[in-house]
């Protein structure tokens, strides 16, 4: 694995903003005193006049973004997922979601892989919160290539988008000539017949690795990358579930209300299927190196493999 290029999706986000900023004058970036960490600092360096630091006031930042969007510009506002989706939830709901303003929320440091900062900063609830807002698009990219494509797609669509990025450097898995990103379209990365693994974010790579180990045991897993959690590619998931008869969801988020919740909602109504939801099991995280935490909470390839073996 040493030769695999790794990059954190927050870094991809900062780079994508610069690329878009060069093309589009109406793109404005807001941050709440975390520009270095969220990587909007990269944009700040290139376009200081279009980077607004709102200070440590995320609720106001979301409102400022709403006002900017109301005048026809396209604001990307950033903070850690905990504060963008958590603290400012009601501002996102009422000042952005309800008027359907064209605000893009670039939330970084999502999930348990925040690492050493610990549970106060490890947001495992943001997807659940954002999913409940009508008209909100939610994208959780799996690597650098997908993150950059997602930022561009978010800019180009009209309406609020929640983009979820991670702190941890993750392998680049989508670097191929035929890669295509379309909001709302899942991607079958590996076909299989024994079960379906539906993964999102950094868990896509871990799931692919787990699928390799399962193959060694003669278990043929299909792996689907769901980068857009809302609107969910229900057709693709139902099709795969009908074929394999078993579905496992994998996410670096609470098993309540996130990808697992969304898939369970669809399948229970349209195609009842035996399911296993892998994720953060209704608990808070803790401090520690990100990789060690993923291991402890069984969210790495080995943990996923182990849980799936017990499930099948």
């Amino acid at each position: 694995m040493a030769d695999v290029k790794k990059i954190a999706t927050r870094e991809s986000y900062g780079n994508a903003l610069v690329a878009l900023g060069e093309k589009y004058d109406n793109l404005v970036v807001l941050d709440a005193d975390l520009a270095e960490a969220t990587k909007t600092g990269i944009f700040k360096k290139a376009f200081p006049e279009r980077h607004i630091d709102c200070g440590i006031a995320e609720s106001n930042m979301v409102g400022i973004a709403a006002g900017i969007a109301a005048t026809g510009k396209v604001p990307f506002c950033s903070s850690f997922a905990m504060f963008a989706a958590g603290r400012a939830f009601e501002q996102v709901r009422n000042s952005v979601g309800y008027p359907h303003f064209n605000v893009k929320i670039g939330a970084t440091h999502a999930g348990i892989s925040v690492g050493e900062d610990g549970a106060s900063h490890q947001c495992n609830e943001d997807i659940a919160l954002m999913r409940t807002i009508p008209g909100m698009t939610i994208i959780n990219p799996s690597d650098d290539v997908e993150a950059k494509a997602a930022v561009e797609a978010a800019y180009k669509m009209d309406g609020p988008v929640y983009l979820r990025f991670g702190r941890l450097a993750v392998p680049v898995i989508n670097d191929r000539p035929d890669y295509k990103f379309e909001i709302g379209k899942g991607v079958v990365l590996k076909e299989g017949k024994d079960l379906t693994i539906v993964a999102t974010g950094l868990e896509v790579n871990e799931s692919l690795e787990a699928a390799k180990k399962l193959a060694e045991d003669g278990i043929d897993a299909e792996v689907i990358n769901i980068h857009t959690i809302k609107p969910l590619d229900a057709d693709l998931i139902i099709k795969s579930a009908s074929k394999t008869g078993k579905v496992v969801t994998v996410e670096e988020h609470s098993v309540i209300g996130g990808l697992g919740g969304a898939v369970a909602e669809v399948l229970s109504e349209k195609c009842p299927t035996k399911m296993l939801r892998i994720g953060v099991q209704d608990t808070f995280g803790e401090s520690g190196p990100a990789v060690k935490l993923l291991e402890k909470y069984e969210l790495d390839a080995a943990g996923i493999y182990k849980q799936i073996k017990a499930f099948v």
């Binding site: 609720s59 106001n60 409102g63 006002g67 900017i68 501002q91 000042s95």
Partner: protein, 275 residues
């Protein structure tokens, strides 16, 4: 408009408020009536707006941060010609474009959805910042309640607007002194209000009677001429202004008049119009 013409218009705006909340059997007449003069002044005198082209790019913006007083805003918009006055009777009813609190997607002339207190001032501040970013000359106005300023987000926005020197932003505080649970100073004392905005680097304009057009005219002129800092107009008003039995009565914060009270209120307004 002359002050006399504005006064006549304000009476019509008040009639629309009473019509709306009476028909809806719900709504917030008290704070709508205290702010009637400011709604009237903004839409008939101060703001660059066009009822026939409500989304014109260079328009001045208004955000009703104290969104529950939508009946007052709706009535002013209707009087100004953004939509028919008859629509006011549909307030809060299913299928009407007049939601209980302002909604940008439904109502012509509304620039932002509001109603969750403390959020409108941030949205207005974002609009003002946006104008600065692209060197546009429109101004942004936002109206807050004196109870609303208990919300922490108000001060996040105030700090930001002061720091960014948004002199195209005019914050108005309707200091009618009453909130749902009682007098503001008894619930959670927000006084002194001017000092607070001064501390956040606002140019503060105090208006002794916010139901007086001459005083409002002077205040808005001063705000418009202020450079290098956002303005805050802190105006003393009378909650329920213009309807004798509603004035300074906290009970009329969010209650509709019954048929008998409606008749008395409309008669009072009719008489006021004949003066």
């Amino acid at each position: 408009m002359t002050n006399q013409e504005l006064k006549k218009t304000a009476i019509e705006v008040r009639k629309g408020i009473i019509e709306g909340v009476h028909a809806a059997k719900a709504g917030h007449p008290g704070g709508s009536l205290s702010a009637t003069e400011v709604f009237t002044y903004l839409y008939f005198e101060e703001m660059n707006i066009d009822p026939k082209n409500p989304k014109k790019a260079d328009r001045d913006r208004f955000v009703l941060s104290k969104g529950h007083t939508a009946p007052g805003l709706y009535s002013a918009l209707a009087q100004r010609g953004f939509f028919p006055v008859e629509d006011l009777k549909g307030l809060r009813s299913i299928g009407s474009h007049l939601q209980g609190h302002p909604c940008v997607q439904h109502t012509p002339g509304i620039d932002a959805s509001s109603g969750s207190l403390g959020q409108g001032i941030s949205v207005a501040t974002g609009m003002a910042l946006s104008a600065k970013l692209s060197n546009e000359s429109y101004r942004v106005y936002t109206l807050l309640g004196d109870g609303e300023i208990q919300e922490g987000q108000v001060w996040e926005a105030a700090m930001f607007a002061g720091a960014k020197k948004l002199d195209n932003l005019c914050v108005i505080v309707d200091n009618n002194g009453l909130q749902i649970d009682g007098p503001v100073e008894k619930v959670n004392d927000p006084y002194p209000i001017p000092d607070k905005f001064k501390a956040f680097n606002f140019h503060v304009i105090e208006v002794a009677d916010g139901n007086d057009f001459e005083q409002l005219r002077a205040a808005f002129k001063e705000a418009r001429e202020t450079k290098g800092a956002p303005s805050a107009i802190i105006m003393k008003t009378v909650k329920g202004k213009g309807i004798s039995f509603m004035e300074n009565q906290v009970g009329w914060h969010g209650k509709a008049p019954n048929d008998e009270e409606y008749a008395i209120a409309m008669e009072e307004l009719k008489k006021a119009g004949e003066e």
